[in-house]
Every structure is written in C-alpha cells, then in structure tokens.
Amino acid sequence: MSITIVQYNAGNIQSVLYALERLGVAATVTDDPAMIQAADKVIFPGVGEASTAMAYLKERNLDQLIVSLKQPVLGICLGMQLMCGHSAENDTTCLGIFEEQVLAFKATEVGIKVPQIGWNNIANLKTELFNGVPENSFAYFVHGFYAGLGDNTIATTDYIQPYSSALQKNNFYGVQFHPEKSAAVGEQIIQNFLSLKS
C-alpha cells in the first residue's frame, strides 16, 4: 500500500510521518501531483494559518488535485479546515469539500483560553474511522478555529460550544485533533484510516 503525505507550507508534517513509522508503515512526503494521485491513501496534515496555506496550494494547483482525489483522504487539523467551504481565519475561501464553515473560538468568560490546547473528549463517533474507539475517548487538540456542526459531522467535541471534531463526505475524512499525537487512541484512528477500502 502506498501512502503519501501532502507537503505544503504547514507544520507538523514530520510528526505524521513518524507516527506512521511507529505503526510500521512507510509513507512518502511529497507535493508531486502524480505521486499524490497514484497513492492508495493520502494524508493532508498541517498546523498553520489558512490563507497562507490556501495561497500555497493554489500556486501549485494542489487545490484542484486534492478535491479530485478518489482514494481515501485524511485531513488533519488545518488540513481538515482547508477541506471546508470557508474559514473565518483571514476570510479564506477553502476547498469546499465539506459544507461546514470554519469559525473562530470566542472566549465567553474569564478562564476560557483561546486557542484550545490539550486533551478533550471526542463523542458521537460515526463511521469506520472510529472502529474500536470508545465514546468520549481523549484526543489532543491545538486550534483557535473550529468547524461547526453539520451533515458531515462524524465526531463532536465541546469547547465553548459543541463543534465538529471530525467530518466525512464520500472518500474525504477530516479530524480537528492530532491523531499522530493522541497516544493509543490516535494510533487506532490512523490504523482505521489505513484500513479503509480504496
């Protein structure tokens, strides 16, 4: 099985590669369209800022490539947000795979910190991405923007309000948390993604 990790101007890409290595799986980090197109599974990771990332993807026509993919694709954190329609982060038009919109967390009371940093529960788990993952498992989050709830929501998390901690539409999956940093729970989710039928 060939796995490619989409390389672009976002952080944390190595961490995904190392997480796969810990599971005994080799992957290629690349921005080569032909290699991405030919892969059995594509991972679209990222920590960073939405408008800068989108501009980079557009420059290299990776935006059109990603939406055209037919194999299972997993967006992580910023990667998931970029798969939504629009992000409030610098008013950015995104890839439009998921209809859900990306909004900014607004601290509503003293003691609520933005960005959310740390371990929070994932609940209302749907699809085989969460096979063997108990309801209310903990995953590691670092984010100041969130995708709202919608038809594509396959996991929810509560911070200030409930939001989509995972989305799915057709062959596209997205997780707001970092499975590559979420201990055994994250490893199970990555394993489940790798087991999806192409």
Partner: protein
C-alpha cells in the same frame, strides 16, 4: 471537556536528564528517551525538554535527541534552551518538536516573539518565565537560567509577550523550584485569570495535593514537575486518579 495537563519536564545536559534544586546542584536522572517513553506510557499529557546549559554555553539544543524523541513518543512535546533565531525553531520543528519554548532571547529582543508567531503560529510558541518573588513582595523576571535578575515584573512581561503572540506561558517560580513545598499559587492564578492563553505552572510540586491546589487555587491549565516523577516519589497514574477523584477534569 478540556482537561488539565500533567507535564513531566526533562532538563537535558550533555544528552542526559538532570535535576537541580533551586536551579543549582545538578544531579543525573537518566536517559531522556527512555524516561520520555515511560512517561508517555504512564499517561503524561505532554512533555517538556529543556536544554539547561544551552543559553549559558551558547549551545544549540540537541536536534538529534529531539528527532529520536519524536520517533519514539506519541504525545506532544516542547523543546527549549538557547533558541534565538527562526533557523533554530525551524530545525527543531522539522525534527518533530510540537512547540518550542523561548526565554532569555525573547526578553532581550521581544520582536523574536512576533517574528516566530507570524512564521510558525502562536500555538507552537511557549514563553518560559523564570520568576522570583523578592523581599518587596513583587515577582521579577530572571534570565539566563535564573542567573540574571531584571527589573521587569512578571505580570508586565507576560502581558507584553501575549500581545506579541506567545501561545502559552510556562511559569517557573524560582522560590519554589525543587523545594517540593507546593506551587506558587498567587502569581499563577494572577496570570491565568488575566491572560487569554494557557498557563503551565512549574516549580514546587511535591505531593498529589499540591497539584490539586495549583489547578483549583492556582487556576493553572497545566502543571509541570521533574524530580518527583524522575525519582518515583509521585507516580503519574496515581496522581491522575487522585485528581479525577477530586473532581478535576483529567485524562485517565
């Protein structure tokens, strides 16, 4: 619910884990990679690695060690010590660090913070503050691993740094560090209640009750400790069970 974090800290000197008392009397405490893997398996929520000699000896943090840690452990970790330039940060992040911690260099040139935040994102920029309460009852910022006093108040520096873009603050009380007499609750609560970023409390954790206090009275988002974990005086699974029973949101 977002949980409070327990963060073991590994002070690194010459590739080994060490621990001092009040920033002095350094003792060897083991292989950092083995310790890191042990803590991750025990339920630590994050790890911090501080290259404690880096600033003083003008050494760069050990990128090879960071890379080995990133390959081995499956939870987030922060690396600090002697970080000055964008190139320093980039190489650490490329080697698998999730966040970097800055201290003296940020104080000497605060534009460091805004430059790093713009390029790498606030979420990966942790400001470490070494704080000491003086006889005038004010908390002052210290630099160079606690060797150099400044006239800057901790609360002022923390506010300035948040405005410049730091994503978290790691607050170490030099008065409490290594004493095992409890965390500095007042200054921790003051920062946590007045700033919109998470506060990691450090220095003085000696018992399970001290951690309860720093989350309730100290309003900390995370608590960091070193020697009590290294020398097995407090076990992370027991600590987390205790906090859970006391009603603290914690990842079990």
């Amino acid at each position: 619910m977002l949980t409070k974090r327990i963060i073991p800290c590994l002070d690194i000197k010459d590739g080994r884990t060490v621990k001092g008392v009040n920033f002095e009397h350094i003792k060897d405490a083991g292989d950092p990679i083995e310790l890191a893997a042990l803590y991750a398996s025990q339920g630590a929520d994050e790890l911090v690695f501080l290259d404690i000699t880096a600033t003083v000896e003008q050494r760069k943090t050990l990128n090879v060690l960071v890379n080995q840690i990133a390959h081995r452990i499956n939870i987030p970790f922060t690396v600090g010590g002697g970080i000055k330039t964008e190139a320093d940060v980039r190489v650490l992040l490329q080697n698998g660090a999730d966040k970097i911690s800055i201290n003296t260099a940020a104080f000497l040139d605060p534009t460091t913070i805004s430059r790093f935040a713009k390029q790498f994102g606030s979420q990966c920029i942790v400001l470490a503050i070494d704080a000491k309460c003086e006889s005038d009852n004010n908390w002052y910022v210290y630099l160079n691993g606690g060797r150099t006093k400044t006239d800057k108040l901790v609360a002022d520096w923390a506010r300035e740094a948040v405005d410049l873009g730091v994503g978290e603050i790691l607050l170490t009380s030099m008065n409490h560090d290594g004493t095992k007499q409890g965390f500095a609750l007042d200054i921790t609560a003051q920062l946590s209640e007045n700033l919109p970023v998470p506060i990691i409390a450090s220095g003085g954790g000696g018992t399970e009750a001290h951690f309860l206090d720093v989350f309730t009275k100290g309003k900390a988002d995370a608590a960091l400790a070193a020697s009590i974990f290294h020398y097995k005086e407090v076990a992370i699974p027991d600590l987390k069970q205790y906090l859970n029973q006391k009603g603290i949101a914690i990842r079990i």
